[in-house]
Point group: C3
């Protein structure tokens, strides 16, 4: 489409169109990163000058720019069309939806799917090949279930959700509207609960359930366990990356984000808007306050107050950890200093 | 059921019924945690007073209590029926089995299952939809194989085992009696063995097998690899949580427990009763003695003697690690102390 | 086969046969490790004396030995036949292929496989039970697709590749020749990209693709994500173990090796021949140079120059980390030294 048509569509979005420079109103057919974009491609820049070199060399036809005069001037000089947006990254997301619309599977039920008794299917669902849906489960309207998914008994899946290939949903799990479960994820499997006895580990039956509130995503090969009693709850809008473990009885607030390989132990609770970077661990029954951020590999073994940024293991304030880590590298020097001082003092 | 009926059934269990207070012999229909339990619900408390506040406010109808007078007195005052047990946690596990019996799938073979030639199926097996069982495999009596499981050739699965949905069992794996394989776990895949050559990595063929002894559990999305020659062995009664990696040629003793995201490198051996907390790593060919406990995120790079509790990376005795970690936080202070001392001493 | 026949076949390989001692030219039927080998079994030793005790006690019938006189003399004395090879480990890999040939599935398409329109299948493919292949995908000749695999639309899989059971390949992924995807791995799933907005996380559409170059292996339950725009690329000959996360937009060079539970964050790049041990993390957009080696649990947060060996978190040169870690254990002693020195100095 022509760039002015794209701008017209972006104006209906939430990213805030301010002003624009149409140039020769180029044809824009796809999106690319600023360094790789070529003719007919759209790219974006955020505030700052970290990519100014890439901009200077860019072959993009059109750009989403922040309110930043120098970037806009370079684009004008290079005769690249641009539009100034309040949030160019959000504008790029909206442009991707416009220029690269996702091909949704055609509604219907594949004849190889196995659907047990008393299953409720909403309107316009897609049930792929070799899907299994257990007795008494309910699938909301417009929901897409890709090939090979296994849904045990009495599961609820809300409207407009998408379950990717070969994921597994265990009995009685409640998945709300607009959730996405990625391939090979497992929701509602048994929590890891055992009672030590003289004859070895005795399983604590896991009779609780998992609840995913609205707009939750769970990444590929991630696991969310059900508890012995009660519920494991993932709060609305929370996004979980690949290979993440959510143990039995965990409760997260709304809009949390957990990067890959995070592990949250049994009974831990996260507030709203918590962000955990890759490979972070959270201990049993620990409480993590609202908007806490933990950098990668952090081990959170004790409660963390709302708003803190933590790092290291055991977790400590990020600034303190940065200082301590810098000193850690210099320990050999300090050790030799101490040796000398002790020598001096004993003389 | 009435509480006295439950007590009668618990007396047949192993958790040790001592004495009880029937109160009005309430109806008990389900189990819950002490803070969430309401009318007709059973809960439990263990020794100690950490949950005394929850007990005081509890709306449970009945309790499993330890031998601890103050807890029993509070329960009596609140007119909550209770039974004193030697092991209330074990009693709770038994109560869950009584009050929340697991619905087992009805025996039989789903018509969509694909069973190759020379497969032996024991009595009363359940083979779910879309299961694949390769040539020459043997499935013991009463074993449950959920939908989507893929079993390669010449696999042995013992009696009373359960394989959850979409798990994969590779050729010649031996799974003993009463094992549980959770959804999307992979048992017996090729070990990660390559020989460096001038033309790049050359695969070391992985011709060995995986053996799971009796009563082993493997969590969702966990992987147990087979070795180039010989066996990878998981000892009887060992429990493995989700997303755990057991590399080729590992041998574990009996009754070990490994929490989520543990990784055990090739050829390592664990003794009996080893407990590894979340995200622990064990290095190549390392030997970990009986009853070793490693706290979360520990990196075990060298052999550990039986009975030790280790932490940190590289792993060290837990007590030492706690002290060192506490000092780590104070490194900026010590660094400034040293600077001052050196200034003084050079004056 | 007789040992001289095996030697004849090994001479055609790349491991370099030098000289040999046939002894009574034993029958050799299988391979085993030096400590477990018995009659009719072949084993190998590499340079060094670490396994000399095992050799002295070995019951193997034949050995692959390095150019090392003492080992050869012991073997002669024990009347064990041997052949001296330039690379006995490589010779063992070749012997495994000779003595334990992998049983490949018989070519053909299982009737339960679901193959959508416009799918191209090369010659001599094996398509297992319950495989799903989406519209427009192309499968190269001699490729093996095990039961339960789900291939979305417009995927390309090269010749002589192997996709293990229940793995999932997302739309437009390009898998080159001779790749191996292990069970339950997920290739081409959506990258974890979200834009923060006032209404919560807004998905950044992930319209890019994943490219696996020739001879790549991806382990069981590993995940390789596609980016919002552009490509995630795994370089030729790179081997990835189980439970590894490769985030959107990562690019690796050729012949890298990543052990289990490694996580590589979005946009990071690895050079050629990079080796990452278990549980290593690499941060967003970090550049790791050619032939870098990172020991287990290393956290690489900043660029690393070619050829470096790094350890620890934040990553530092391995030698430095070893020294610092040794001192870390002695921090209580140093803390008490400082206390004393300060006491002395204030007196």
């Amino acid at each position: 489409m022509k760039f002015d048509e794209l701008i017209y569509l972006l104006q209906k979005g939430s990213a805030g169109v301010n002003k624009y420079f149409l140039g020769n109103n180029p044809e824009v057919t796809s999106c690319a990163s600023i360094d790789l974009a070529t003719s007919k491609q759209l790219s974006f820049l955020e505030k700052g000058n970290s990519l100014i070199h890439e901009l200077t060399n860019s072959k993009a036809s059109a750009l989403l720019l922040p309110k930043q005069t120098d970037l806009q001037e370079i684009a004008c000089k290079k005769d690249i069309a641009w539009v100034e947006m309040c949030d160019p990254r959000l504008g790029f997301a909206e442009s991707l939806d416009i220029l690269h619309p996702t091909k949704k599977p055609i509604k219907g039920i594949h004849p190889s799917a196995v659907i047990e008794d008393n299953v409720y299917l909403g309107d316009d669902v897609y049930i792929g090949a070799k899907v299994f849906i257990g007795e008494g489960s309910q699938i909301g309207s417009n929901t897409i279930i890709h090939p090979g998914v296994v849904i045990y008994e009495e599961v609820e899946v809300g409207e407009n959700s998408e379950l990717h290939a070969n994921s597994v949903i265990h009995s009685k799990t409640k998945i709300s509207k607009r959730c996405v479960i990625h391939s090979n994820a497992v929701i509602g499997s048994e929590g890891f609960g055992f009672v030590p006895t003289k004859k070895g580990w005795r399983k604590m039956p896991q009779t609780g359930i998992v609840v995913l509130e609205e707009d939750v995503e769970v990444g590929s090969c991630s696991t969310v366990d059900r508890p012995s009693v009660g519920e494991t709850i993932i709060g609305a809008g929370t996004k979980i990356d690949n290979l993440v473990q959510i143990a039995h009885g965990v409760k997260t607030g709304k809009d949390c984000a957990m990067a890959s390989q995070v592990g949250i132990a049994g009974g831990a609770t996260l507030g709203n808007g918590v962000i955990l970077a890759g490979q972070v661990g959270v201990g049993n029954r620990v409480k993590v306050g609202d908007k806490v951020v933990a950098s990668s590999k952090t081990g959170i073994h004790a409660n963390v107050e709302a708003g803190e940024i933590v790092s290291g293991f055991p977790a400590m304030p990020n600034r303190l950890w940065l200082r301590c880590s810098a000193i850690f590298r210099r320990l050999p020097e300090f050790a030799s200093n101490i040796r000398e001082l002790r020598k001096d003092s004993s003389e």
